[in-house]
């Protein structure tokens, strides 16, 4: 057997260096941290053949009940539909309902539609602002469970009420409500410091501010008219009645 040629010192040194470098590289690889997970692919990139590990980690397995339910859904989804009369029935139902709706809204019974023909269909919702009138001439407005007398036509107009909003009711219905403070309109003219309350087509002079406030009035209720117009309205008793003769505006 022929002996292998003896390596030269340079070759020996190179071999040793390669050996050391190789071992160091191996040690470094072992000591290194694991590589970060691959981010999920963007929607625009083509999907890989197998989903990346990250997707699998958070996936929740189907419970047996869920799996059965989904299997049932899928089975039902491919079941063929036998023919039915459902579309025709739906068409007939819609057509019938449209005709019925038109009929019940036609004013056939003493100019009342069937939908609103029952005698107490016009039942009232008792609420603040409801206008009521009994057999007498007084008109009232409900407020906080009390009926407030609207003292004049001017007051009625001043507060923005409409006559077609007034409901005629029986007196017994009216009596169930306590009387509240009457609703007046206050009149004032620019050339006079005095303020008057219109009541039964008469103007009643309000003596001073404490009386004005004690009567529950607010400045917003005052309406400005010309002094001539105010003078033409006959005087009523002043407020309070012992206030003396009323001054002319």
């Amino acid at each position: 057997m022929s002996q292998a040629p003896t390596p030269s010192p340079e070759e020996l040194i190179l071999a040793m260096l390669r050996d050391v470098l190789g071992r160091q590289e191996q040690e470094m690889r072992l000591a290194a941290k694991p590589a970060p997970p691959i981010p999920p692919p963007r929607a625009s990139t083509p999907a890989p053949a197998a989903p990346p590990l990250l997707y699998e980690e958070g996936a929740e397995p189907l419970s047996p009940a869920e799996a059965q339910e989904i299997a049932e859904f899928n089975e039902l989804a491919v079941r063929p539909l036998p023919s039915s009369t459902l579309p025709r029935t739906l068409r007939l139902l819609v057509a019938g309902l449209v005709v019925t709706l038109i009929l019940i809204n036609l004013p056939l019974f003493n100019s009342l539609a069937l939908a609103r023909a029952l005698p107490d269909r016009q039942a009232l919702i008792i609420r603040d602002g409801l206008l009521l009138k009994g057999s007498g001439p007084e008109t009232y407005v409900l407020e906080n469970g009390q009926k407030r007398w609207i003292s004049s036509l001017d007051a009625f107009d001043h507060y923005g009420y409409q006559w077609d909003e007034v409901h005629l009711v029986e007196d017994t219905f009216l009596h169930q409500f306590r009387d509240g403070r009457p609703l007046h309109v206050l009149l004032k003219c620019g050339g006079s410091p005095h303020i008057h309350r219109l009541e039964n087509d008469q103007k009643r002079w309000i003596k001073d501010i404490p009386t004005f406030l004690a009567e529950g009035h607010v400045w917003e209720d005052a309406r400005f008219v010309s002094c001539g117009e105010l003078r033409r309205i006959p005087d009523g008793a002043p407020i309070p009645p012992d206030a003396g003769p009323p001054p002319q505006p």
Binding site: A59, A77, P80, L81, R121, A123
Partner: protein, 240 residues
């Protein structure tokens, strides 16, 4: 399963879509998942839910006047549609964040399917509502009866939405449980938005004794009004 539904023959037409939803909602959902004729489906559902809701609205408004009937027949479909549009982005982004593979149009179709189901159930209640409209005169009773019909129809619609969502996202297992919980939260949100919008668009019935008004001033809320109506109906107090 992805394209299975495409190969199953069935009649086509707007009414056929509604028929499919009513008779085999699972196939309907599968077709939404597979994207089968999605625009056609959306068109059909919009049309039939609008017709059903308009009819129901007209019955509710007939209690007051013809004008109220006309107004309610427009307002009721609007109520459902606006609620859907307001709540759709929330559902879509919930689903997207939780890695469901549904697109916006699929989410929209699924919600519209729930609304269509609600509308059709309400349509089925129309004859009953008409009967009580003609034979009773108690406003509060009639109002609460209709609220009860809405609750039943809404519950059926929401149940269908839940079922459809589970079917459509069955393949997306990641975040499935969280999606389920968020869907329930979203349904609550949907109910709140719907009831608040209903309160904003009121009146639908028109209170007796009040003139016709297209919209009523804001004030109070839906829940206190229902509570007050219950109180008056059972004689605890009078609504003022």
């Amino acid at each position: 399963m992805d394209t299975q539904t495409r190969s199953i023959p069935r009649p086509h037409g707007l009414l056929s879509e509604l028929e499919l939803l009513l008779r085999n909602r699972f196939r309907f959902f599968a077709e939404i998942r597979d994207g089968v004729e999605l625009p056609h489906k959306i068109q059909a559902m919009l049309l039939y839910s609008a017709i059903s809701l308009a009819l129901y609205g007209a019955v509710m408004g007939s209690e007051h006047s013809v004008w109220q009937a006309l107004a309610s027949s427009v307002k009721l479909p609007l109520l459902f549609l606006i609620t859907l549009v307001v709540c759709l982005p929330t559902l879509y982004f919930f689903n997207t964040i939780l890695e469901a593979s549904l697109g916006l149009s699929q989410n929209f179709a699924l919600l519209l399917a729930a609304i269509t189901m609600t509308a059709v159930v309400l349509l089925a209640f129309v004859p009953v509502s008409l009967f009580f409209l003609i034979t009773t005169s108690q406003y509060q009773f009639y109002k609460l009866l209709n609220v009860a019909f809405f609750v039943i129809a809404g519950w059926i619609g929401v149940r269908q939405l839940d079922q459809g969502m589970r079917m459509l996202t069955a393949g997306d297992r990641r975040g499935a449980r969280m999606r389920g919980r968020l869907l329930r939260l979203w349904i609550l949100l949907y109910a709140f938005v719907g009831s608040q919008l209903a309160w904003t668009l009121r009146p639908f019935f028109g209170a007796p004794g009040l003139p016709f008004e297209l919209f009523r001033g804001l004030g109070g809320n839906f829940y206190t009004n229902i509570f007050a109506s219950l109180g008056e109906l059972f004689g605890f107090f009078t609504v003022r």
